[in-house]
Point group: C2
Chain length 519, copies 2
């Protein structure tokens, strides 16, 4: 039916159009039915709402739908009944315990991509496709289908390494260090990171303070050829359906493991990864709190890798306090670059970065990876490689850590008693840094003057809050007062030595590597 | 925050209020957040939509929310931020594979009942709580929690029998016959049926044509004392949360087994059932198509019964064609009453009713139940009991089947060839009857002149469509032409003998019965 388009400024959680009751009757549709809305260029199916307050012959849309179909107010557009897509049947079958075929999963993914499934249907799919109701072959199908919604890149080299952290620990600024060490050895590592979702600073947030994070595929291929590694930001070129799934599930606060694994791996498949190291931060307050869960997750990932033809190793790392001392975009960039400049720094950063880089070097055939990684960092080779990558990402090749200046509104938080730092609460640190404006205000964040086990006197500065204006600084201070970000008590703290990586869970197929190296 | 109430006539799939952007900022809320809306009497939490087109100090609500909170236009009401309920955490945990405690399930059910969970959250719960991701103890907890959202009745007698058909087969008019036979023996059977959801006629739809189906709890208790059985309609007194769950999941077309079982059993728990017979119709086009699925379902139901302290038996019945010859409220009522009057009738009705009643008699200690049931029917005792129950449900105690007159607009559908009826398509029969106006037009429906295996000559009437007006009759005829409700071919049809009940799956604890009988 041809109708005159008009807009409403009501923001809805689902794409919606409002039609006159009589037009609905004529089309034989009612509330909750789907319609296909066709304007200039695009076409989407949306939820219908019948309403007497809309004139006959008119269709009122939310700004989101207006934009997606490319309609203008007053334009005549086409609205037609859209039957329930076949993929809804597959979702129902999944809810009822059926193992889905590749074709069924593919049609679900395509319909999510094309906007044919409502948020409710996506939520039903993600909720039913849970650990007990999906098997790894289905997750592998899902991964491939998701990858195929975007560009599939052939970098023209093998092997292709990648590094992924599950996140959940603040201050985790090791990615550019790991990439620089690994790429120094000529190993290809096209690392695509992301911005913060709920944290105070994602990898792309701090990298963005000193070079471009957006990179088109042609530049990426060229960069990898020239300097072996990059630290860019994943974009909508690769497995774009992942963002649509996240958009639907985020309001519910859900991110079940099978779809989460598929979402991570789909981007690796899209970029042609052959070898992947996954960092699993473990600790109170992080996503994974105990070794049993970490090992179960690692095993699933590794087996999924086998199905996808990707060698996956996992490394469980300590996440009971922030990595390093800085949290927030500019502060983290400074600390990261300083470690590269000095070849040394806070032991949690250096040990974790060299440990992860070392495992990758071993996956690539090196004998004593960590020793080698540490040498590359100490010798300045990693720093030189870092600046090469910065340059290729349009950053200043003469970049110095001191060039990066945090917010000038500063407030110190002091110890109330003498004793030892017992505990640092990661969620509180994140909340305070976000209160100060991070990650949008790049200068906002926190500097930890002390970490777990440090002896402090009453009145010593425990941590410093940075902000870009007084109001946000006050908000962060308020947030710090209402929480317990750091606790100090008399007892000495027993810090286990043995480094940041507490367990390495190797890939099944390390030996295949030799073949790749000889290709 | 105190705001002036106003209404919008936009119909939404979720309860929604629209607030001014500045008011939202002041309350620190945004789109997708929840608020508690408090007016005269009630209080609900709803999804927020920030909108510049609403004046500051005002709140615009859908008619549903207006009515639920009892607000009038222009009234000053209270709107406050409502944090995400704890039960959402439990739903997330379930999605991630956790086995939920009774407390967690109870809080989910309470929050659904109180309107604290959105449809999306209910869908996520139902989708994740699927066969592979829930265990029977959780289903038992869910059943009890659902029962406790409504009235819990003690009929003051034990045992309390019940009979439940999973449905999906048209013309299944056996309930009043089963109840009348069983109650003739003084066995308590407070049967609560339902109206059609997607079928052409539910039990309550045809019972409603000859007596009241609504009955309050006090009358129910009195009726059971006086005449042992009733055939009423379940109402919102018992496990009312079930309807809220169905309201959320119906647009998705989902009804996963664990929540479906809990929904069925919660009403039985509420009425104090101790012994239950479940009819599982099996056949192409019905809900359950093969014996393996039927047996799996029966086993789950029986084990759930054990956890709930209810003795459950299941009987798998043939559902490859309609039961009896009539479909539609008045037509089914006629056929049902005629069988009771004559003590005989179409073998599918008589055999199924006596078979089911026989199993119940055996559950109650009788030796040869089916023989006994058939005697009770043949002797006229069941008919006398039926009229007693009709009377107590405010029907005419002198009721005759001939009193019930179907619609006077009639159209015959003829055989195009000579041969044997091979197949009757249940979904087509239901669609034609619904096209004719059933169940709302009580006189509408179908009479089957022939059933599977019958020899017919070309030109013979295969079935007759009844309607209450010409337009609907034409619609039904149109529907019959576009489908293939009955097929006739040369080959003789092999009809297996052995009755309508193909498999009986007895309860684990038949022996306990003796104890009940001696109480």
């Amino acid at each position: 039916m041809k109708l005159i388009a008009g807009h409403t400024d009501i923001t809805m959680s689902e794409p919606i159009v409002i039609l006159n009751k009589d037009d609905c009757l004529e089309m034989g549709i009612g509330p909750m039915d789907r319609v296909r809305v066709t304007a200039q260029e695009t076409m989407v199916s949306t939820i219908i709402v019948a309403d007497a307050s809309v004139m006959k012959g008119h269709v009122i849309m939310s700004p989101y739908v207006m934009q997606r179909v490319g309609a203008e107010d007053g334009e005549i557009i086409d609205v037609e009944y859209s039957p329930m897509p076949e993929s809804v049947r597959s979702i129902r079958a999944k809810i009822n315990g059926k193992i889905l075929s590749h074709e069924e999963i593919d049609s679900i993914v395509k319909d999510i991509m094309d906007g044919n499934l409502s948020d409710k249907e996506i939520i039903a799919f993600v909720s039913s496709f849970n650990v007990n109701n999906s098997d790894l072959s289905e997750v592998a199908y899902l991964t491939r289908s998701m990858a195929e919604t975007g560009r599939m890149v052939d970098l023209g080299v093998r092997p292709v390494f990648d590094f992924h952290s599950l996140g959940g620990v603040p201050g985790n600024k090791i990615t550019p260090i790991v990439v620089s060490i690994v790429a120094s050895e000529g190993i290809v590592i096209p690392k695509m990171s992301s911005r913060a979702v709920s944290s105070a600073c994602g990898t792309s947030d701090y990298v963005d303070t000193f070079c471009d994070v957006e990179m088109d595929t042609e530049s990426l291929i060229k960069a990898v050829k020239e300097v072996s590694g990059v630290f860019t930001c994943g974009n909508m070129d690769y497995a774009p359906v992942g963002r649509k799934i996240i958009r639907a599930e985020r309001p519910m606060g859900i991110d079940p493991r099978p779809t989460m694994m598929a979402s991570i791996m789909s981007k690796k498949v899209a970029i042609g990864t052959t070898h992947l190291l996954v960092d699993i931060p473990m600790g109170a307050g992080s996503k994974i709190s105990d070794m049993r869960t970490a090992e179960g997750f690692a095993k699933d990932l590794r087996d999924l890798g086998t199905l996808l033809g990707i060698h996956i190793e996992c490394a469980v790392s300590i996440a009971d306090q922030p990595i390093g001392r800085m949290i927030g975009p500019i502060l983290e960039a400074r600390e990261c670059i300083k470690v590269l400049e000095d070849g040394d720094g806070d032991p949690t950063v250096v040990d974790k970065a060299c440990g992860m880089a070392g495992i990758i070097l071993e996956m690539a055939g090196e004998k004593d990876g960590m020793k080698k990684a540490t040498e590359i960092l100490r010798s300045g080779r990693a720093h030189r490689k870092f600046l090469e990558i910065v340059k290729i990402q349009n950053g200043d090749p003469g970049l110095r850590s001191d060039d990066l200046v945090p917010g000038r509104f500063v407030k110190d938080v002091h110890a109330k008693r003498t004793g030892f730092v017992q505990y640092i609460d990661n969620p509180s640190i994140v909340a305070i840094a976000k209160g100060a404006g991070a990650p949008a205000d790049t200068g906002a964040g926190i500097e930890l003057l002390h970490k777990i086990g440090d002896h402090v006197e009453a009145g010593d500065v425990l941590f410093r809050i940075y902000a870009e204006n007084q109001a946000k600084l006050d908000r962060a201070v308020q947030s710090a007062r209402s929480r317990r970000p750091m606790s100090v008590a008399a007892a000495e703290v027993d810090i286990p030595d043995g480094g940041m990586i507490v367990k390495r869970i190797p890939s099944k197929a390390m030996l295949d590597l030799i073949r790749f190296r000889n290709d």
